[in-house]
Amino acid sequence: MDVNMKVNLSGVVLDNPIIPASGTFGFGEEFKDLYDLNILGSISFKGTTREPRFGNPTPRIAECPSGLLNSVGLQNPGIDAVINEEIPKLCKYFHKPLIANISGFSIDDYAYACEKIDKVEQVGIIEVNVSCPNVKHGGMSFGTNPESAAEVTKAVKAVTTKPVYIKLSPNVTDIASIAKACEEAGADGFTLINTLLGMRIDIKTRKPVLANAMGGLSGPAVFPVALRMVYQVYKAVSVPIIGMGGISSAADVIEMMMAGASAVQIGSANLVDPFICKTIIEELPKKMRELGIKSLSELKPTF
């Protein structure tokens, strides 16, 4: 059986739905020697802000059952360095449209960075992160109510020409209403989920493991929550969804697409198995044949 892995995100056609998730793949540098990056559907690069950021104090990582907490806090060299240095470097090895992950601390920040990144030819989709739980002001708070999420969407849409995907926070009561508000404000698609806010305490020192006390939970532990939210958003909106949260196998990819995702991102799994994206891309056709799936782009909830 011939299988077709191509998927379409607002006109940007990917060879396959596998995209390394922002923050777990840097700017591709560490992976380019491991395998040919061009096997990937796309790459969502490390969350970028107007100004350079070091991020939060260390420790920034804590082990959890089937996952980890991180409180990196958007460490990045700033939008100008990303455009002038990181993207050109990455594009020596990767020749497909990129997903540009952008964060901010004010509506103005978002608009500023998105307007700049919109001019970069290699960028296919702008992913607006209104859901980072690891920054004090802005970040997640924009993503936790429909009005502010819609406001960010509108401001970014006003200054960009490329498809704008809003990256949603799972730390909310009603993710569908937030997605709907963003869709009305012009969002071309959604990426979800970002990390679930969590905490660990070191019982020997009686202090939180993370210097920042709380951090974002990711990895297989969050997969059922991510799947549920993708399904809820799928039911609420009519634009494409990039699903993520704990995906670690070809079966997980298919399950996520059956919940309503048009493509997926792989995050934490890259950290513990640097070859996971390659493995999944190789396994997908086999799994598709096993399940009688001819074309990934046909998958959607049938319930």
Binding site: F54, I61, L68, Q75, V209, N270, L271
Partner: protein, 245 residues
Amino acid sequence: MRQLIFEVNNIRPIADKVFELILLGDTSDIIRPGQFVNIRVDGKYLRRPISVCDWDEDSLTLIFKVFGEGTEIMSRLQKGDKIDILSGLGNGFTVTDSKKALLVGGGVGVPPLYALAKKLIEQGVKPVVILGFASSKDVFYKNEFESLGLKTYVATVDGSEGTKGFVTDSIKENNLQCDYFYACGPMPMLKALCLELECPGQLSLEERMGCGFGACMGCSIITAKGSKRVCHDGPVFYKEDLLWT
């Protein structure tokens, strides 16, 4: 870096809760002392980083202390078990030709100094070794360093072996002189060394890691040369680049 399967050839306790683990496999990714491997542990999500203590063409020696659940599980490994490791991580130590070198290790910071000692000897440098532990029951590898023909001092916090106190006390007590030092151990030890030793040196740092190969920014520190990832730009840094606050 490569992801490889190694086989346990031997595991034995060498001090209180400290194990020496000898693995068989392809070590060609390890090129410098001070590099580390990142070990997948059954039932844990993140890998566990452990320094390379010694290696030859097809075997790898690690020394680890049971600290939490991950290292506890590792301590139950048995001959013949297979483990999944990322090999050849980190920059490792750069061997210099300074003749009066000190090697200073604290606790589980001692292991990487062993391979470094061998490399220094190959280069004609005979460093003096100072090993710091909490107590005599924690001491390991003193004999191994001595067998390399190196003068080796021990300091224990409770004074049950060698100098009572820290490695810096041992340096003072024995009036050790140096024109260069290489160190690995807990942060307070590294800081004290940087402040008390006037000569230049290289220090191997520890930080909680997400990936161990530069992808997640989990292990960043701010240095005189900007932000650096301990796993990828380190774990070994030059003394002059470290900022102590």
